[in-house]
Symmetry: D2
Subunit: 291 residues, 4 copies
């Protein structure tokens, strides 16, 4: 049986979104109440009180949650189906399975592994995959399997096939921890789970390659990092989190990169944690984050 997060035993997160309408919060909280759930936190948002979309996250406690899940799910289907609302119910004691794809940089990767080991990321990490081998020893020192998938030359399809084979059925989401390979549309179609990326600029500034060099050329006084879901439009996916650091004229592009690395790892870690805790709802090209 899979690993459990005891601190979240008998806790479920219910995400509901769909057309805003009168009485939704009451309907949902009544449902939780009649299923013997006790609300721990509730966040909701409507992007337009008149004809907009409604978003809600409820974390509730329910003794014997596992056994009760089917009944609650049936009640949700019966109650929310007629209202055209989408919903997901997740047992928060079951950690999501997260694969990490990395290249040669270790800062984002190690940060995730450290936070995970300290019990601050509610995930399991079934594997780290890299197109390089230099991080192998570090990864394995955390007791996490490391898989090297060779990826040279212009044709990445073989490497992608190998990665897909490793991921399929084994993970709930994928994190690109400064993974320096472009993900093909075909891979995105097939992978079937969300992919979270960290981009080393304050998007939409400095889209594309070499943002620190471009930042230096433009003479900016701040550098940033952006974590976003990967879509077929490169660097255009829904933003989950961003942050910045102050820089000055005396810093070289290499200095910006070194300083930026600290921003990247912090931004990616927050994005991963929020995703793992079901705090992020995708809507069009935006995210609603109930942090």
């Amino acid at each position: 049986m899979a690993q459990r997060n005891d601190a979240m035993r008998d806790h479920a997160a219910l995400i509901v979104h769909g057309p805003d309408q009168h009485g939704l919060v009451s309907a949902i909280t009544s449902l939780i109440s009649r299923n013997d759930g006790n609300i721990v936190t509730l966040d909701q948002y409507s992007d337009d009180p008149e004809g907009g979309t409604f978003f809600q996250r409820v974390l509730f406690h329910r003794d014997g949650l596992t056994a009760a899940m089917p009944d609650i799910e049936k009640d949700l289907a019966d109650t929310l189906g007629p209202l055209k609302m989408s919903w997901t119910l997740t047992d928060q004691s079951v950690p999501k399975r997260m694969a990490v794809l990395a290249s040669t940089s270790d800062h984002c990767l190690l940060e995730l592994l450290w936070r995970h080991r300290r019990g601050q990321l509610p995930v399991t990490i079934p594997m780290v995959i890299s197109n390089h081998t230099n991080v192998a020893e570090d990864v394995r020192s955390f007791g996490i399997p490391f898989v090297h998938v060779h990826s040279q030359g212009p044709d990445k399809s073989e490497a992608e096939q190998k990665i897909l084979q490793l991921l399929t059925g084994n993970v709930d989401f994928v994190v690109l921890a400064r993974y320096m390979q472009i993900i093909s549309p075909d891979f995105l179609d097939k992978v079937g789970v969300p992919i979270i990326n960290i981009h080393h600029s304050f998007l939409p500034a400095f889209i594309g390659a070499a943002p620190y060099r471009k930042a230096k050329e433009r003479g900016v006084k701040l550098i940033g990092a952006t974590s976003h879901y990967v879509t077929k439009d490169l660097d255009e996916g829904p933003i989950i989190e961003q942050d910045i650091a102050r820089v000055n004229h005396a810093m070289t592009a290499a200095d910006l990169q070194a300083r930026g690395a600290y921003v990247e790892r912090a931004v990616l870690s927050r994005a991963v944690q929020w995703h793992a805790e079901d705090r992020v709802i995708r809507h069009g090209n935006h995210t609603i984050v109930f942090d």
Copy 2:
């Protein structure tokens, strides 16, 4: 008839707090629903899921709110009374009446007046009272009454009596915008409305007088400001908001003061806004802020 905030017409904020118990959120949201309210935002927090205190703020829209208030209040009393919950229901289209007490410094005072004029502070300002006259012209240029209450010598009781007379029945809360007089316990007993202060340090560091001088002496690398409710224990009241600015060895105490002024006005403005929007709940010596 008093000024109205049209953007918040037919919006009410309901604050509920008391012993946490099963089904509270559902009971409250059902109440709002059966009174034809539509929930705009809902925030809640419990300081301990087992036997702790529950706090909730619901902002809801209800056509014809003014006429419906008595019915909703009766329902609240009937529903929440047996559950030992405290509650307040406030029509958000009715701006709170805020008096400002100032001395010679203008930075916090002007910031409040500017934000108010831009429609960013949902209050009315029936008066600014100062023990000095240098800000009189500025205040009056905003169309706000200015009252000078002389306060020299060790005995402040006469000045306090005059101020109490001005405030009584005319204001919903008082802001001390760098008001350099100590408020007596007697004044606090009599004023009957909350008082918000801005202290020019990151409390509890540098409690008492001359915090910028003390900060310089201690060689700190950050200076701060703290907005809090005034209680009889000087500088010990519940903190509403805090922020800091970075400083360095080359700055004099006067430099710290100049830089600190920008932090003070921002921190005080946020605290005042949150209070005015019923986002702050006092609980013991803490605040719950649903910002």
Copy 3:
């Protein structure tokens, strides 16, 4: 005789830049020493120790500075001329004359006027020019002349001519405090003094009009502001200062604008102060800021 800044009496700022070479700092500091100057602060930077450009700012005190300026300037010409270095020497007790161009928004304008009144901006403000009249009363309440220059219709040349006439010979630099008119290349050619603008985004993100709307559409988690020198390439001039504020999904474009206004006024004020204190050196499309 013009207004003087007594705190900076007998203080000069010397800016030197040009090809980096051995012994420059020593040559410059010896020159100051032999002219009886006492160095207060010294900042220097070289963008490449091998064949790069050298930048230095020295603030020094010299009793009887005004009388000694010609001798120091002759020594500078004799010493730095052969080294191909550019230099400027400015008496810091003589405040720069700053014109402000504004439109309807008051937040940047009032911030500059208020900091000036507090003695925190070492400038004089001979005039505020606006294509609207709503800020006239506020400006005049600070004792500053306000001039309305009507500017409607597509042809701005007449308005620009009037503004040029007002500025010529009367100001040392111009600040666009949310001035919503495009400056023509012809105006830039003729004005003959630096122009500082505040752009309401973190450039180069959201170049052009309506950045807050674009930021909302892109779903960013931070908004920013950028102060830069105006060049013929719109929004592409050398950046002086930038800063950001955190936002979230629940904020409307109007909320972003309101929050952004506080970032704008802080960023612009810092840029103006640094420019006024001769702390900013333009080099290509960059700035070196010795703050």
Copy 4:
């Protein structure tokens, strides 16, 4: 022969401080010039232009620095001795030897080891000493010697003697990376090198034990961390660096601790880097930091 930092080959840092007097900067830069040094950066500060103390850091490049050091030192002694100035000259290609003392927490320790491995901390780490063994494997995976020094019971003198024996002659400074043992005055007298500590609050707030618990009790909205030199007055030594993170009412003391850990590691790392690069000058109970 010891490890060298090639990037800083032939670079020296000269620190000068003492009574401010006319012509100091010129005297020092001329000295560097006549010894064939080329100034890379120069920072200086005087705490009072009239009768204050002068502080300067010059980083200069000099071909064949190692061979020239004795001559430069003699010139410094001859030039600065009569002026009553203190000075130190350090070859920046020689990394300082840093011992780390740790207990069970790994976040500050791992951050230092990892930054060191990335080449971002110009030090060597001859040893990590802990009174616990749980971090041993991690430390050794970085190729750094780990020494366990048992320290139970009230009498720490035996443990301190063992640590002194390990340190003596082997290190240039010591870092307490969340080392949970009180350092005795006797140890301080004997150790003979600077000790840098990280305190988990914004000093002087929450001096002493359990600052996160105290922060929770006081209801603060920010938590901080402070890195300082250790003196006999606990938590009262000269502050090198501080920073904060925003918190809210919903966070438990454990949440504050988890969030604070990221502030601690960042603050300590910056303080260590600045110390290692000779950017920090102690003066009374303050520091001048030329960052």
